[in-house]
């Protein structure tokens, strides 16, 4: 796997006013399903180039939040503003399942929506280390490889905002760590803004500048992660942050079941 590591400090400096990342503002975002409120008045500001992880229990509304940002769901109230260097910021989404078209080769999947983007698609496949599989059908790839192809498909569009909806949830532990490193290195190299929805608190601590916790459709915690990159899972600081988030999740659960 090709990994282009750049000094973490240099990147966070550059990320602040990087034109390569879009900033994202949510104002009073609300969404209901059949009378039940899934998201309630979410206010949020995300800086260009920031990596934000959204954690929470299943059904807390974190996926709905991401889909509302992507424009796949219409919010019932509030608004989503995505701004960037260009006129219309490029927003791409990675889904929980890779959603590759099984009847197109790996290369054609990456080039989807780009009539003459074969060369760029090759470059994107190369950046996720799968150029050698360009001519194969998705069916013969492993789960991790499929997600890498889906990542390449998103990156080929040079997104300023990349939305990740638990893309690593179905992968085995080792493949997941590999993918986290790949996503981090590509984020560092390209400087896009990233919003990752995950139920894995450790994954959030490894990748995010900032961790948001959603409970019952509300923002319950907004925690900056000040660890230097690349982060070491075993370190004391890492463990402390992971513990803090986990305790918050469990705490909320206790108050709920007591009520």
């Amino acid at each position: 796997m090709h990994v282009n590591r750049i000094e973490a400090t240099r990147v966070s400096e550059a990320a602040n006013e990087s034109p390569r990342g879009a900033h994202l503002v949510l104002r009073g975002l609300g969404k209901q399903y059949a009378g039940r409120s899934v998201l309630e008045r979410i206010d949020l500001k995300i800086k260009p180039g920031e990596f934000v992880a959204v954690v929470g229990r299943s059904g807390c509304g974190k996926s709905t939040l991401l889909r509302a940002i992507a424009g796949l769901e219409q919010p019932d109230s509030g608004q989503v503003k995505i701004g960037g260097g260009g006129a219309k910021p490029e927003v791409r989404m990675m889904f929980q399942d890779a959603r590759l078209l099984p009847w197109k080769t790996v290369l054609d999947n990456v080039a989807l929506g780009l009539p003459d983007g074969k060369e760029r698609a090759r470059a994107a496949l190369d950046s996720v280390g799968l150029l050698a599989r360009a001519g194969e059908w998705p069916a013969v790839l492993s789960g991790g490889q499929r997600q890498r192809v889906a990542l390449a498909r998103a990156l080929v569009h040079q997104p300023q905002l990349l939305l990740l909806d638990e893309p690593l949830g179905a992968l085995d532990a080792l493949t997941r760590i590999e993918m986290q490193q790949l996503i981090e290195s590509l984020w560092i190299a390209r400087g896009f803004t990233a919003v990752l929805v995950t139920h894995d608190v450790q994954e959030a601590v490894v990748l995010a500048d900032r961790i948001l916790l959603i409970e019952n459709g509300r923002l319950a915690l907004d925690l900056p992660v000040g660890l230097a990159r690349p982060r070491e899972r075993g370190s004391a600081n890492f463990g402390a942050i992971e513990k803090q988030v986990l305790e918050h999740v469990l705490d909320m659960h206790h108050t709920l079941s007591a009520a």
């Binding site: 992507a70 424009g71 796949l72 791409r92 989404m93 889904f95 399942d97 959603r99 078209l101 099984p102 009847w103 197109k104 989807l112 929506g113 059908w137 998705p138 069916a139 498909r153 569009h157």
Partner: protein
């Protein structure tokens, strides 16, 4: 010994048919079977060869093949078009599907008296029967196939900017194709059944005509040639459908 067994293994399924043919030939020669009821296999083979040599077989075969192809083309074409339309548009489905389902419940063969009144015993009558029969399997499977396309893939493709025809070509049609091909395969089998009936009612050429004509003259051997020919054509149509599936669904592990 083991080697011989390995060589014989693939031939084993054919042992029973071969024995049956041999028993048939033997009982005809001994005189147990009257040639009025069942001519000996050798006589059938000779009759087939005679028909091939005189060019008669090819002439009838050509007519039947043309009918099957035209009837299938018309029926499957309309089935595909309406299936695509109703599968893609809720409004079209609301408007048309109930009507089509009612018509579907009428067996194509029950229409014969009406068809004869409408078209006479012309070529058009036969094509109409074939087309109506072939229409429904293709229509139903196309309709179902379009509806069953993975909504996640469509959402993904939309989010990548695919709209209209591009979305149709790259996502919806290929997604529905396995189901559409099931309909095509079923129809290719059905078209021969309908053709036999249509050609038996009234025709001046075709394998069905050849067979009915031979019956009039008590040429049991020619009747058997006709029946075997239908079996071969049906098998050929099925092989054609399998080839189509292998080609169009080569991305799908289930068809390799």
């Amino acid at each position: 010994m083991r080697r011989a067994r390995a060589l014989l293994a693939p031939l084993l399924p054919w042992a029973v048919p071969l024995l049956l043919v041999l028993a048939w030939e033997a009982s005809a020669r001994i005189g147990w079977l009257s040639s009025r009821i069942l001519p000996e296999p050798w006589a059938v083979a000779t009759a087939a060869w005679e028909l091939v040599r005189s060019g008669e077989l090819w002439a009838h075969l050509k007519v039947s093949l043309w009918r099957a192809a035209a009837g299938f083309g018309i029926g499957a074409g309309f089935g595909l078009l309406l299936g695509l339309l109703n599968g893609s548009s809720r409004r079209a489905a609301t408007l048309l599907d109930t009507t089509l389902q009612m018509i579907r419940n009428i067996p194509a063969l029950a229409l014969i008296p009406l068809v004869i009144l409408w078209f006479g015993i012309d070529e058009a009558a036969k094509l109409f029967l074939l087309a109506v029969g072939v229409f429904f399997p293709v229509y139903l499977n196309t309709f179902h196939g379009i509806r069953a396309v993975d909504a996640g893939l469509v959402e993904m493709a939309r989010s990548y900017g695919l709209r209209g025809w591009a979305l149709y070509r790259d996502v919806i049609l290929p997604g529905a194709l396995p189901s559409i091909l099931v309909g095509v395969r079923f129809s290719l089998g059905l078209v021969w059944v309908l053709l036999i009936v249509a050609e038996t009612i009234s025709a001046q050429a075709g394998i069905g005509y050849m067979t009915m004509n031979a019956r009039e003259f008590l040429q049991t051997d020619v009747v058997l040639v006709g029946i075997l020919l239908y079996a071969l054509l049906g098998k050929a149509a099925d092989i054609f459908a399998v080839v189509l599936e292998r080609h169009f669904l080569r991305w799908n592990q289930a068809y390799l």
